[in-house]
């Protein structure tokens, strides 16, 4: 992938973004030198680098780099590799929660999951939830980011207000939304009723799903917004001015210039939103719907929690978390495979 993408942009322009710089560095390391630009001052030959790129020098020998990597490695070891290994082990066991009776059951836990209608429903719900959340979050964040450029007064106030939800704990946000849209007492639900909409997320599965998508998106819009605002700042003013001189209005300029140049940011955010939807939304579900009604909002990560910590079915819960991790991995890989090629990293 790296080789291909580096070849594409090399025809386009000189790289300036840090992200493409890394790709370039990796790609050119094994390639033949571009000639003439080898670092003459150094004694040992270094791989050729693109103009304008820096290469960090840690001295010779593996000592210092290893030392610097160690903290990160330890964190990964204790919070990722060991738990993952434990999950993998647990997923092929049938065990009593106290661990006093343990049976090895091969892949029974996985087989049981795929034979289970509830699990398939959970997969389908997760897909709807993450896609809905992703699209909504990106769209709203884009509109807000676009508007930021056109606000003259109180821009910092505007930005602060948009960023506020990020500081609210997911469970609190969940309770807030659950209350606002509670059909018995919630003011927003009363408004919907006044409009003739029979809003009831306690009974209507679709309403419940809409409600959790709204809550999860609201909580994550600010994250996307920050990246999009920064991304828009990086769009060269000269291009926009040139377009303005040619008579393009603000919306046209945003759609034809800003948006394409935001490609890498949008792509990155789409991946992050999926990961957020997959893993970080369980507190919201717990506070807003508890996976109900009738499993309508029982997303995979919430099911992992309920089966493991409420039902104490550790084998099934572990099997589910292994599957969930694979889904997330697969999803991210697919996104890279299909969208990364369409994204233009050059400026």
């Amino acid at each position: 992938m790296t080789a291909r993408s580096s070849a594409t942009w090399r025809d386009v322009a000189a790289p300036a973004q840090s992200r493409s710089a890394i790709v370039a560095g990796q790609a050119s390391r094994g390639a033949t030198a571009d000639g003439g630009r080898t670092a003459a001052s150094r004694k040992r030959a270094r791989p050729a680098l693109e103009a304008g790129l820096k290469r960090a020098n840690f001295g010779d020998g593996p000592g210092l780099p290893t030392l610097l990597l160690l903290p990160q490695f330890l964190i990964l070891l204790f919070f990722f590799f060991i738990p993952s290994l434990r999950a993998l082990t647990q997923s092929v066991l049938l065990s009593d929660p106290f661990g006093t009776t343990v049976q090895f059951v091969w892949l029974d836990n996985f087989k049981a999951l795929f034979a289970n209608g509830e699990y398939r429903q959970s997969m389908w719900v997760t897909l709807q939830f993450t896609v809905g959340q992703n699209v909504l979050t990106l769209l709203v964040a884009l509109v807000l980011a676009f508007a930021t450029d056109h606000i003259v007064r109180g821009r910092s106030v505007y930005r602060t207000i948009i960023l506020l939800p990020y500081a609210i704990a997911p469970a609190i946000a969940g309770i807030l939304w659950a209350f606002l849209f509670n059909p018995a007492v919630g003011p927003l639900a009363q408004m919907l009723h006044a409009l003739g909409i029979g809003w009831d997320p306690n009974l209507n599965p679709n309403h419940a799903l809409i409600l959790v998508v709204l809550t999860a998106s609201w909580k994550h819009i600010c994250y996307d917004y920050i990246f999009l605002v920064v991304g828009l700042l990086a769009v060269p003013v000269s291009l926009i001015e040139a377009a303005a001189v040619d008579g393009a209005g603000p919306i046209r300029r945003f759609v034809s210039i800003g948006l394409p140049m935001l490609g890498p940011t949008v792509f990155f955010l789409a991946v992050m939103n999926f990961i957020y939807g997959f893993f970080e939304t369980f507190a919201i579900i717990d506070a807003v719907t508890r996976g109900g009604p009738a499993g309508a909002t029982n997303i995979l990560v919430y099911k992992v929690y309920v089966d493991g910590f409420v039902n104490l079915d550790l084998g099934s819960s572990a099997a589910q978390s292994v599957l969930l991790m694979s889904f997330a991995l697969l999803c991210t890989l697919l996104q890279f495979r299909y969208f990364d090629r369409k994204v233009n990293y050059g400026v």
């Binding site: 009776t101 018995a184 009974l203 009604p293 499993g295 309920v306 910590f309």
Partner: protein
């Protein structure tokens, strides 16, 4: 030099502290009581600690029941369990078969305490006993009762709620039709416990085969062939007709009752504290209704928690634990706890004591739970429930009932599916515990 000074200081501190420490043996009790109930629990522990000078019990609030269970599991796996832990009724089989606990009756007898286990109120004792011996000490036992708004019933021309579901339904429809309240009742958060499980016991319906699981792990749910199905259909009808409301997330069902919005509420007797404090209405309570063709109705079953003793501690600590459990089982402690919280007294003697003192003259609604639990002779259908993974089967059932409420399934279909899912979960539990002899637990 510095180190020597530090060590010297350390020893001085230890010398000062340790004699006091050594005098009392300290044991931990992890519990799930919060708010008012948590304060009351701390008072009980304080009473015990002051009553003698050999032992100290440290009560540690570990969150809700699920969190306590997870905490004790993690602690046990790390070989550092607390001496005692409070576990909800649904976790009975998991704890019993965990091989991680010491049966309390064994412990108390071994330590020479004479507790009259036959004096425990029957459905309470049978729930927490295995083969006639108590495995955990009932601490906070409750049962659902029927709360109602007196004014609403009087305005509609009724003295009190009817005894049968059929008559009660007419009353609730009348109250709604006359515009006295917005809703006749509100769906309790634990409706599966009060409106399905207890309903089944009271109306003498089998919930599972093998005497609701008392006769072995091979038990299967059968409530899809009993009145439970028509009960679900009734709830659905009430919901559709606006007789029953669902409070939903972000709001507690109790508030819909205590604020006077809904006329009745089926909930645990343990909510006495809350309702007394929060209600702005003229409330009262009575027995749960029964079906008109079931007469007399049977006893209801319990909910709440019991104290389990964990394995792996020293004899001195078990001494302390036994002393504390003995203290909890005393009628005086029981009566105090009963009055302070609304939970039922666990023994007949404690109940008699409360009655002799005229407690129920001032608090008539507090007697309902005891009378409802001890009426008649418990039979196979009303003794209680002995299902493994009972939380998991309950959540599956709740999901299916929600599907009925959402209009996705017919009651019969939903209960068939709930039973099918529940039985798969029961088979998993049976497989895990194969070889552990549970036959004939009477």
């Amino acid at each position: 030099m510095k180190r020597a000074a530090f060590l010297a200081a350390l020893f001085t501190v230890l010398a000062l502290v340790s004699p006091a420490k050594a005098a009392r043996i300290e044991v931990q009790w992890w519990h799930a009581m919060s708010g008012v109930l948590g304060d009351r629990l701390n008072e009980v522990v304080e009473k015990f600690n002051k009553s003698q000078d050999k032992y100290t019990v440290v009560a540690v609030a570990k969150g809700n029941y699920d969190e306590v269970t997870n905490g004790v599991i993690a602690a046990y796996r790390a070989k550092r369990p607390p001496e005692m832990v409070q576990i909800a009724e649904r976790g009975y089989m998991t704890m019993l078969l965990s091989d991680a606990v010491v049966p309390v009756q064994d412990l108390l007898e071994k330590q020479g305490y004479k507790i009259d286990f036959a004096d425990f109120i029957k459905p309470v004792a049978s729930f927490w006993s295995y083969k006639g011996r108590m495995s955990a000490l009932p601490f906070n036992s409750s049962t659902p009762i029927f709360w109602y708004n007196k004014d609403h019933f009087q305005k509609a021309g009724f003295d009190k709620p009817a005894d049968t579901w059929q008559e009660l339904e007419k009353q609730l429809y009348a109250i709604k039709a006359k515009g006295i309240s917005e809703c006749g009742t509100v769906l309790p958060g634990d409706f599966y416990w009060s409106l399905l499980e207890n309903y089944s016991a009271i109306n003498n319906q089998p919930y599972g085969t093998l005497a609701n699981g008392f006769d072995g792990l091979g038990t299967e749910f059968v409530y899809n062939k009993t009145k439970v199905v028509s009960q679900v259909a009734r709830l659905k009808k009430w919901l559709d007709d606006g007789i029953m409301q669902i409070a939903g997330q972000g709001f507690s069902p109790e508030q819909l009752f205590t604020s006077g919005r809904c006329s009745t509420f089926v909930n645990s007797t343990a909510s006495h504290g809350n309702i007394e404090r929060n209600a702005t209405i003229n409330w009262s309570a009575t027995f749960l209704p029964h079906e008109s063709d079931i007469d007399p109705p049977l006893n209801s079953t319990i909910g709440g928690g019991a104290i389990w003793v964990m394995k792996g501690h020293t004899p001195e600590r078990y001494e302390a634990v036994a002393a504390f459990l003995n203290f909890i089982a005393q009628p005086e402690t029981q009566v105090w706890w009963h009055g302070a919280t609304g939970y039922v007294p666990a023994t007949n003697r404690a109940y008699e004591l409360a009655r002799e003192r005229g407690y129920y003259k001032d608090h008539p609604t507090r007697e309902i739970a005891v009378l409802q639990l001890s009426r008649g002779t418990p039979n196979e259908n009303s003794r209680g429930f002995r299902f493994g993974n009972f939380v998991q089967t309950m959540l599956a059932q709740r999901q299916e009932v929600e599907a009925v409420f959402a209009g996705q399934k017919q009651p019969q279909q939903a209960m068939d599916d709930a039973v099918k899912r529940g039985n798969e979960i029961l088979r998993q539990f049976e497989k895990l515990n194969a070889g552990k002899n549970l036959d004939g637990d009477r």
